[in-house]
């Protein structure tokens, strides 16, 4: 149990953080003023948990799990984590025809609850890049063939060696709150893609997003978005933290604008996560990392800081009060930074060295609320006590 400096929220609510780590899952839950946190878990000790997500529609919990040896699967709980059931049919690619080499899901990387009009629908993104859909709350999963069997898939994603060092990934599965048919996905590598018919057909959405690691810096696809976000109250506003900078798009214009050019030059605009303010489409947080030369992927100069923009990326403000001031060489992964829905907004991140940091005033002040956990892969916030 840990305490942080008291900051009273105007709409006090308990918050729970769903933590996915290299060695299991945990829950950190707060009191209503978010100044006291209690750790619950571990769940699935020893399992590699890439994502731990709560369905806001019915509070079903899903975890994406595997071990170093056993195949990938999904576990679900409908009683707040007291009991868990394994998916009867986990995400898996179709069996290849005789003599053909088929795809194998290495791990489930991303979980997204479906549109509010479709109770029980979930989507999963995998490594290598695959998209799967469940219509029964995660009990059984089917291939979204419009992507997985698309004749362009290999051209879009490249081979297994063209992704991130621990496997190419599909992530950032986004559902337009106005239209269950309208979806986005992000892929490392591959880029951002959009579907208007719930995944049957896909089109690249990468104009303006540069690539510094290919001969052509402006390809139609092949980019490496690390984290893509859609604002829930302004669904035409998209942001992404890319391998090659921070971008914003107004979908009606259809072009990514590199708002990371406005970051301090000595920090740069490379990182993994990006988090949006739940009510203000102009406010977003990032957590820069060192993307120079051999890509250390640590906090620049060992001095971690979040950066916030409150004007849609025109200006950025450094937020490091309370964070280590030197020799802190951790990394914050793409799924490991999140925000709650309180006022003021709580912002949270987990590190590769097993710490959870929290700010209950939108990043102005930070406190470490858990340490000595395993390597953190993902952190998600829900506005109730789990």
């Amino acid at each position: 149990m840990n305490s942080i400096t008291s900051t009273t929220a105007s709409d006090a609510q308990a918050v729970s953080l769903l933590i996915a780590s290299k060695k299991g899952a945990f829950v950190l839950r707060s009191n209503e003023t978010r100044d006291h946190w209690e750790l619950r878990g571990p769940f699935f000790l020893g399992h590699i948990i890439h994502h731990f997500v709560c369905d806001p529609r019915d509070k079903t919990l899903l975890v994406a799990a595997k071990t170093g040896h056993l195949g990938p699967t999904v576990f679900r709980s409908t009683d707040g984590g007291e009991t868990w059931q394994e998916a009867a049919k986990p995400p898996a690619f179709a069996k290849a025809e005789e003599g053909q080499k088929g795809l194998v899901v290495d791990h489930v990387f991303w979980l997204t609850p479906g549109h509010p009009s479709e109770p029980g629908v979930w989507y999963a993104g995998t490594s290598p890049q695959g998209l799967f859909r469940s219509a029964d709350g995660g009990a059984t999963w089917d291939s979204v063939d419009g992507f997985n069997e698309n004749p362009m898939r290999l051209a879009w994603v490249g081979g297994l060696g063209d992704g991130t060092p621990d496997g190419p990934k599909m992530h950032s599965i986004l559902i337009d709150p106005r239209d269950a048919q309208h979806m986005y996905i992000g892929m490392s590598g591959g880029g951002v893609f959009e579907s208007l018919d719930q995944g049957q057909r896909w089109a690249p959405l990468n104009t303006g997003s540069v690539v510094t690691f290919l001969p052509d810096p402006n390809p139609e696809y092949g980019q490496d978005p690390h984290c893509v976000r859609l604002h829930p109250l302004a669904p035409d506003v998209l942001y992404q933290q890319n391998h090659c900078g921070i971008y914003r798009m107004d979908r009606r214009e259809g072009r990514w604008i590199r708002i990371g050019d406005n970051m301090p030059q000595d920090v740069g605009d490379i990182g993994f996560p990006m988090v949006l303010h739940p009510r203000d489409p102009n406010t977003a947080w990032v957590f820069p990392m060192d993307g120079t030369q051999v890509w250390p992927r640590t906090s620049p100069d060992g001095k971690p800081a979040a950066y916030v923009t409150r004007d849609a990326g025109q200006t950025w403000q450094r937020l490091d009060r309370g964070l280590p001031t030197s020799n802190a060489w951790f990394t914050v992964f793409r799924q490991a930074m999140t925000a709650d829905e309180c006022a003021p907004v709580g912002v949270y991140f987990g590190t590769t060295c097993g710490e959870i940091w929290a700010s209950s005033n939108e990043g102005e002040d930070w406190q470490c609320i858990a340490r000595h956990l395993p390597h953190i892969y993902a952190v998600e916030a829900v506005n109730f006590a789990l």
Partner: protein
Amino acid sequence: MKVSIPSPLLSYTNQQQQVDGEGNTVAELLEDLNRRFPGIRFRLIDEQDAIRPHMRVFVNGEMVESLEVRLQATDEIHLLQALSGG
């Protein structure tokens, strides 16, 4: 036939380290186990019917790599997890 279960899969067999199984091939045996212990097969065998990289199947002490290997009712099967990890 008798089938030894490795510790990472005991959650599927109600902690039984050895279970009975039936089948004329390794594939049939694994289908039989999966009927009685749902989910166990996919943790061992991927969707292309390959034994996962860190898992092993031994028949009477000999490692097999194909699910089509034929079995006898008296065979002893060991499902094993390789030593690796971190």
